[in-house]
Amino acid sequence: MNGSSERSLPYLFLGPALLVMLLVVVYPFGYNIWISLTNMNLYHLRDPTFLGFEHYRNILGEPELVAVFIKTVLWTVVNIFFHVTIGTALALLLNQEIRGRSVFRALLILPWAMPQYITALTWRGMFNFEYGQVNLILTEWFGFEAIPWFGSETWAFTAAILTNIWLGFPFMMIVALGGLQSIPEEMYEAARIDGAGRWQRMREITLPLLRPVMVPAILLGTIWTFNNLNVIWLVTNGGEPADKSHILVSQVYKAAFTYYRYGYAAAFSMVIFLILLVLVIVYMRQTRATERVY
């Protein structure tokens, strides 16, 4: 085998994957950028004209953008916080030798295994003011006032967050459980011999060794949650009450599929992409996610 063949071999191996990436990622991404610079909409679907950065200027100049952005960040942070804490706590429990562990594990994965659509609509029904199970439990078991879940912005947003927490913790639980099971038992044994207590073992062994699996999982979770249209759209029935429970991605969905403002929606999606890009870069630098641990 001569030198040039040897050099070209990796490219040959990469070729098919690169071709697929080019077709399903690079081309649509480039096309999206192009659309975002045009007036493509229902009336100019076949003959869009170049507008430059007009959509971007309009989006950044919209008075409600900051409020929706803050709401999206809140939505993401609250969800991820509970996904990680509940998921990790359950993983720690399931990592113990307990009776019926596989049954508990299967039950706890169920929310993740069920179609989001079904789950979201079921939760919506459970939040009904008069007949929903949530209010029935609150009023009949705990004696609280019934909550008008879809009558106020705050409660509607809370309902969507509760649903998404329920849907999202199993993913973090599975990831954390995988991480826990890969920690060698000898390390705990050595720590025990050295006199380390339960909390010390957790702080010095478990948490640092969970980090390499949790950091990318949190990154993925953040991107998914930031862009999670299904749950908020279905639980709040497209923005109840009075279009007040939107996050950035549901605004994009509405622009594209209610009003057919493809150029505007493409520009909005680019803005979201840039926000996430900055978030990811900052997160990776802060967490040193790409560094080796062992």
């Binding site: 085998m1 040959l12 679907l45 879940w149 923005g239 009003y259 505007y264």
Partner: protein, 422 residues
């Protein structure tokens, strides 16, 4: 050694590329073979399960009569069929025929993805259909109506209501009388009246009862009117003052309560009736009662469902497509839909027949249709719905006064329409 691996890899790659070539060639050969085989027609629809079952039976019947035609029907959700069709048609693909509600043709024709149907069928063909189903947009007809209505009526449970109310005052009285708190826990176990109170489609009949409407003849929004404010006030009072509808009444709740016999009356459309019958409810259908204060009939939105033809349908398929649509909108098929699922026929010859007169449900439905108003089919109607929805919800939640909400509706509709066009 490395050389051998490299040669092995190259041989593998050649095999893979060769296989792909063979597959592509087979595809092309398939296309060539298809030229000589049956003419393939693709139809996309958004029908309910019962309708779809009938459609598939009718397609089989058509294919039996025309062995040279093969029809493939694909099912989508209401919004999906529209969005998927737009995307596919833009790329020159998608189905030959698309079935859907009349307001679907607004965006699809504006995007240039449909063929005007009068060019294929001839203007005379459409004289057979009821005038409310012959809606022109930009000087053309865009679909052939298969059923008529899609309108709201008052559905009542015959086990609880003997005679439907004559006016809204009586409706409220009857609703109150039908409310039951069986276990005395202060919670209503059976309501008198339920309807989707958050969607503006259910507000439309009341707007008409006060003499207003959502758009004028120039397709401009007409939402900031005293009629709109009165309609909003009326709906708010049903909940807040009279307490005859549930606090948080969306479609699913209203439908479930009526289906379970826990509501005496519901305002709903033809798509729901079979489900109620299947649930064992003996239903009666009547017009939404006359508004007592104005003595005018509420005017639900009247539309139709029909078949449109894609702009990307090949010219050489058009004759077959015409035959398929003619068959699927013909008298035999419409009669079947009327008898089996209670859909009103769009053909005048059936409307005048005893098909409707002998069936009290169809007769009640027809009576309501004739009191309704045509639903605008322009794409801008989406902006109007979207402007009405939050304001309606604000009124129902007690966060806006009706007059202020009507003003806000108009402002938002105007803004959204301008954005759609920009």
């Amino acid at each position: 050694m490395q050389n051998r691996y490299f040669r092995g890899f190259l041989s593998g790659l050649i095999v893979v590329v060769g296989c792909m070539g063979a597959v592509l060639q087979a595809g092309c050969a398939g296309e060539k073979a298809a030229d000589a085989g049956p003419i393939e027609i693709v139809l996309w629809e958004m029908m309910d399960p019962q309708e779809r079952e009938l459609l598939l039976q009718n397609i089989t019947a058509f294919e039996a009569e025309h062995p040279d035609v093969k029809i493939t029907a694909a099912h989508f959700g209401v919004e999906d069929v529209r969005n998927q069709f737009l995307t596919a048609a833009l790329g020159g693909g998608g189905p030959d025929i698309i079935y859907g509600p009349s307001d679907q043709v607004g965006p699809l024709s504006a995007a240039g993805t449909l063929r005007p149907v009068e060019e294929l069928f001839g203007a005379a063909f459409f004289e057979r259909f009821h005038e409310l189903t012959r809606i022109e947009l930009n000087g053309h007809l865009w679909s052939v109506p298969e059923q008529f209505g899609n309108h709201l009526v008052l559905v009542y449970n015959r086990a609880l209501i003997n005679t439907p109310p004559a006016d809204t005052d009586e409706m409220i009285r009857m609703a109150k009388a039908s409310m039951v708190d069986a276990d005395g826990d202060g919670k209503i176990d059976r309501y008198g009246l339920v309807f989707e109170s958050k969607e503006p489609f259910w507000l439309a009949p009341w707007i008409g009862a006060f003499g207003g409407w959502v758009m004028n003849d120039e397709n401009e929004p007409t939402l900031d009117t005293p009629a709109m404010a009165s309609a909003l006030e009326f709906c708010r009072e049903l909940k807040a003052t009279h307490g005859v509808i549930p606090q948080d009444c969306d479609y699913e709740l209203a439908d479930t309560l009526f289906r379970e016999g826990r509501a005496a009356m519901i305002v709903n459309g033809p798509w729901s009736w079979k489900g109620y019958r299947d649930a064992g409810i003996e239903i009666g259908i009547s017009s939404i009662p006359r508004m007592t204060s104005t003595n005018a009939w509420p005017t639900p939105m009247v539309s139709y469902r029909g078949y449109s033809i894609s702009a990307s349908c090949d010219d050489d398929k058009l004759e077959v497509v015409r035959a398929v649509v003619e068959f699927l909108t013909g008298a035999d098929v419409q009669r079947q839909y009327a008898e089996k699922i209670g859909a009103l026929p769009s053909l005048l010859e059936l409307q005048g027949s005893d098909l409707i007169a002998r069936d009290p449900v169809l007769a009640g439905s027809m009576e309501q249709v004739l009191r309704g108003q045509r639903m605008p089919i322009v794409p801008e109607m989406r902006a109007v719905w979207d402007a009405m929805r939050p304001a309606l919800q604000n009124v129902m939640n007690g966060e806006s006064a009706p007059a202020a909400a009507a003003k806000e509706m108009q402002k938002m509709a105007t803004k959204k329409i301008a954005e759609m066009r920009s």
